[in-house]
């Protein structure tokens, strides 16, 4: 049974002092709630939509068409020797997941304000549930990628086994960013406006339409500060047999963990006052 199940002990509600305290047991007890909220969002999104889940296929394919015309035909961008449509498809699918998940997580607390002000449960679950529904789209686009790979004769190597690792990395990046932004959004609704701009910039700073190798060597360490550079490169490496992620990926990993730590700390510090300010 959930809620810290401990019938014997007292549950205390007192002013919280600053230290980071993550109650993993309680989160685990409430794990189903995150699933239910994610499921709710998926169901609601595709209710009364004729194409339904078909949108998850159609959207990146349309993106591939546009990107191929603009960046390949007009700008003649290199793609590490991979067929450009396949190259950009992977970039787009991963990017679409991340940007969608960050947006959803950012808005999650405010759009669930009625829950926040009326019921107790670990608030962390709300932004967590926000990064889950996009995984369905990601999963749906994988078979499409298989077809594309067959068409362009691209064969992944053994590296394909590391796919779960890269998916986990994408979730982690989206969750860390979404967690911080969602807590900020409770206090400052400006975040909701700024997120569009932020994601646009982030897109251009991520190797979606171009490869990391197109970035001058001197800029590589700085470029790696963007965690998405390593994540997208990782996906291309494992799915398409692109170049393996370089040592700078460690910078990306570090940045992600620091971001996650910051987000968790800020979230925990502010979470029990959400109901007062939301």
């Amino acid at each position: 049974m959930p809620v810290s199940g401990s019938t014997a002990g007292w549950i205390e509600n007192r002013p919280r002092s600053g230290l980071l305290r993550l109650d993993v047991r309680e989160l685990w007890a409430y794990r189903e709630l995150a699933g239910f909220m994610a499921l709710r969002d998926i169901k609601v999104r595709y209710k009364q939509a004729v194409l339904g889940i078909g949108w998850a296929v159609f959207q990146p394919l349309a993106g591939v068409l546009v990107f191929t015309i603009v960046f390949r035909r007009l700008a003649a961008i290199e793609s590490d020797g991979l067929p450009y449509p396949v190259f950009v498809f992977v970039g787009l699918v991963v990017w679409n997941y991340t940007s969608g998940a960050v947006t959803k997580a950012t808005q999650s607390l405010v759009s669930n304000a009625s829950l926040v002000t009326k019921v107790y449960f670990p608030r962390l679950l709300i932004p967590l549930a926000g990064v889950l529904p996009g995984l369905l789209d990601l999963a749906v686009s994988l078979p499409v990628l298989v077809v594309l790979c067959a068409l362009y004769d691209v064969r992944p190597g053994l590296a394909v086994l590391t796919l779960p690792l890269w998916i986990a990395a994408a979730i982690l990046v989206a969750f860390a960013a979404g967690l911080l932004l969602s807590a900020l959004n409770v206090r400052y609704r400006d975040v909701n406006q700024a997120i569009t701009l932020l994601l646009q910039l982030w897109l251009f700073l991520s190797p979606v339409a171009y490869p990391t190798s197109a970035v001058p060597a001197a800029w590589q360490p700085l470029y790696a500060v963007n965690p998405m550079s390593a994540v997208i490169e990782g996906f291309r490496w494992c799915l398409l047999g692109g170049p393996a992620p370089g040592p700078w990926s460690l910078v990306s990993a570090t940045v992600t963990l620091v971001l996650l730590g910051t987000a968790l700390t800020y979230f925990q510090r502010t979470e029990r006052r959400f109901a007062d300010v939301i």
């Binding site: 199940g5 549950i11 009625s114 019921v119 107790y120 400006d190 006052r273 007062d276």
Partner: protein, 443 residues
Amino acid sequence: MTAQHAIEVDRVSKRYRLGQYQSTGSLGEAAAAGLHRLRHRRRPEEIWSLRDVSFSVEEGRALGIIGRNGAGKSTLLKILGRITEPTAGVARTRGRVAALLEVGTGFHGELTGRENLFLNGAILGMSRRAMALRFDEIVSFAGVERFIDTPVKRYSSGMYLRLAFSIAAHIEPDILVVDEVLAVGDAEFQAKCVGRMHIAEREGRTVVFVSHNLDAVMQLCTEAIWLERGAVTAVGSTESVVDAYVATATSEDRGSSPLVHSEDVTLHGVRLVDESGQTTRSLRRDRSFSIEVRYTIHEKVPALDMSVLVFNSAGTRVLDEAWSDTNGSRPDRPGTYTVRVSVPPALNVGDYRVGIWAGTAYEMLLFEPAAASFRLEGSTKGRPERAVALFLPWQVVDEQARSSAVDADTGRGPDQPNDHVDPRDDADTPNGPGVARQSRGSR
């Protein structure tokens, strides 16, 4: 620590910051607030919603919390339910707490009843398995079997409410914290809610119940707390606390301080006026009297409605007269008004309490369950239990005296009606009506 306590609240205080610079929150406003503070060297307006509140509840007891709007009741519940944290002090609870501050929290219109049931259960801390076990019971309690796979946006508001409450009623926490859930729904539904909470109490759960409905509190709770301006004014048996509460509400020396205050409407006071125009709290039961209400409208409230409620000492709502029951025009513009409702002699001798409700068809603006009290004096004619005493006139409409063989008026023999008895409509026996109609007006 005493082992048998389920709830311990120890010097809990809660401060809210008020003012335009704090309420909505955006970067620009935060900057503006910072500047404002620098320039005026003044801290934002603070309000202590709770101040040094301490009490404890033993396991399996039901505690009622009463108090006027803005007394801090909801804040206290939110702290008990860990929805917000206190500014100072500590609230301890033992076991699983379910705070029902409203029913149907998290319901989504696009989802079916079934989907909402599991989602809502998860929100209230129930596992999927636990909900599956209770599924049939919840659905049949709500009476929505046929519609369980229909999106709840197609539900009538009654069905929606019943499903929501049914879920809430079946989550079986150790501590049940309930706020005003009973304010919604019809009388039958409210009775169902109170019944369900009785069961919870009998099952050994601890119940904390906040309500404007003093009668429900008296029915359900053995102990009560009275909160006034964030502080505990009285603790003890429900009866004594409610009595004290009602007494202050009706004491004459309130001066000019308003009874209840909301954003749009302030209720200043309620007086009882007898036939000769005297203000009194002791009236004759065989004379009509007026209930006079003085209130101020601050903002124009289109279609503002008001209702005068009268409760007898048993807590029964004997009157609930809404202005909108009649067709007269009602003021809705800003201003201070004194209005009167005239009550004909109908109520039995006894002590009564007057409640005032103001609102629109869509929302309640204020409700004061104990705005005034009065006593009706006179003779009960030996039957003090009845709520209404109208002294209705009686009359004889048919007489079949044993001594006379034939009734002079109808020309029928005495046994005739009995031969004619039809069990299906004995109210309308063929020989009766004509006579009854003729003679009714004769007295």
